[in-house]
């Protein structure tokens, strides 16, 4: 019964995705295409939840549905053109796409069935990760353990990638300045309603940050949620007020500080004769050392992601980059 329901939800959501993308291809209005991409992310996140990937669903909902939509909309405002997009019907393109698709479907025929417990993916390292997490790290969330400890080097690289994306956007667009005509209209109802919600979002962000060891969550998600609290403030009260709350000059420093916290945690273990990012060096008890290391590293990631996301939002909300 439960498996049938899971499968029903899975297939329905996949068909929704196909429909959404089909309409997004057809539409000539970029605004509509962006909104449809927002729902696309929502449905994808729901699908991840249905496929048992709780943490991924969390990330996709916060990052894909929340931040990407806001980002694309502010880019559309900067470019100022969103209607009557030309669409060319490319026969050659269609031919290539159909050919590639047919080849891929032919290749997929050999794949093991979905949910098969004996598939090659599951017989290798996966069970080791689950066992070692219980033995060496002793936190319930295996994803956080693998992310921050077993594959900590990998995650360090990804944090640096995010940081450099922030730097690249800053180089391309700069912070700009806020033009008065871009300020939002006064809307008393929104002002009153939004204020408590900002507090709620910020507290929820902290909860996600520090609850990541036990349930779904972690630094990546928490950073984006925390930033979306400030983004909400700036959407309702205006960018110039938001820049008074969090000055744009401190954001690059915070982002660098986040990456630095991550790197220094690794350096400490290197100095005490262990390998880079081996957290058991942080305390006399290896298990509590792991706990401490994961906490430090996750806060570094959270800080870096928060400041980079807000930095990118500020860059896209300013105008006049040429001068």
């Amino acid at each position: 019964m439960i498996e049938n329901l899971e499968l029903l939800i899975d297939v329905c959501l996949l068909f929704f995705l196909l429909l959404i993308v089909f309409v997004a291809i057809k539409t000539t209005n970029l605004f509509v295409a962006t909104m449809l991409f927002g729902i696309f992310s929502f449905v994808t996140a729901l699908l991840f939840l249905d496929l048992d990937a709780v943490d991924v669903a969390f990330t996709e909902a916060a990052v894909g549905a929340g931040f990407t939509t806001v980002l694309m909309l502010s880019a559309l405002r900067l470019t100022g053109a969103f209607e009557n997009v030309k669409h060319r019907h490319s026969i050659l393109g269609l031919f290539i796409v159909v050919l590639t698709g047919a080849a891929l479907i032919y290749g997929v025929a050999d794949f093991p069935n979905m949910g098969d417990a004996n598939a090659p993916v599951h017989v290798h390292v996966a069970s080791e990760y689950i066992q070692l997490t219980q033995e060496k790290i002793d936190i319930p969330n295996v994803v956080t353990a693998v992310l921050a400890s077993f594959r900590g080097y990998d995650t360090f690289g990804e944090t640096v990638v995010i940081f450099s994306a922030g730097v690249a956007v800053l180089l391309l667009l700069g912070m700009g300045h806020v033009e008065p005509k871009h300020e939002p209209e006064k809307n008393l109802v929104l002002w009153v309603v939004v204020k408590p919600f900002i507090a709620l979002i910020l507290i929820f962000g902290l909860y996600v940050q520090f609850h990541g060891d036990f349930g779904a969550g972690g630094g990546f998600q928490a950073g984006v949620i925390f930033a979306s609290g400030f983004i909400l403030y700036s959407l309702v009260f205006g960018e110039s007020y938001a820049r008074k709350v969090v000055p744009s000059s401190i954001l690059p420093r915070f982002a660098a500080l986040g990456v630095l916290i991550y790197g220094l945690t690794g350096l400490v273990s290197l100095l005490s004769d262990k390998t880079f990012l081996d957290y058991s060096a942080l305390s006399s008890n290896p298990v509590s050392g792991q706990h401490m290391g994961i906490l430090l590293v996750e806060s570094g990631v959270g800080l870096a992601v928060f400041s980079t996301v807000l930095l990118i939002f500020y860059s896209f909300s300013g105008v006049n980059h040429n001068e």
Partner: protein, 120 residues
């Protein structure tokens, strides 16, 4: 315990019916403002019913507190969004169907539209 699960079933059933009604209204009603009404049926009636149905079934845990928080968020957020959207539409020059012409002619118009405009 028995009563709890029965109540939960009733809440879930009612919630399901109201969501469906709201969605059919969203699809079939003739103009933007009436569709706004249909959408708010789901958001302020069906949502609490469904969540209360789930709450009754789980019993009182920490999750119940979060579920109450979700109800509060939804009950505050959705009317706000509806208000802001309605205001934006009014500023954007969307007029309700009934005001545009004389009432009688309009009645006929909407009726014909209802019969001719089948959802695809």
């Amino acid at each position: 315990m028995m009563i709890n699960s029965m109540l939960s079933d009733i809440c879930l059933l009612l919630g399901g019916i109201f969501t469906l009604t709201g969605a059919i209204g969203l699809l079939r009603l003739p103009d933007f403002y009436s569709r706004l009404h249909a959408a708010s049926v789901t958001e302020s009636l069906a949502a609490p019913l469904l969540i209360i149905g789930v709450m009754l079934d789980t019993g009182f845990t920490l999750d119940s507190a979060k579920l109450i928080l979700i109800i509060v968020v939804m009950v505050i957020v959705n009317p706000t969004i509806t208000h802001a959207l309605c205001r934006a539409a009014a500023h954007g020059g969307i007029t309700p169907k009934m005001q545009s012409e004389s009432t009688q002619k309009n009645k006929l118009q909407t009726e014909t539209e209802f019969s001719s405009k089948e959802p695809k």
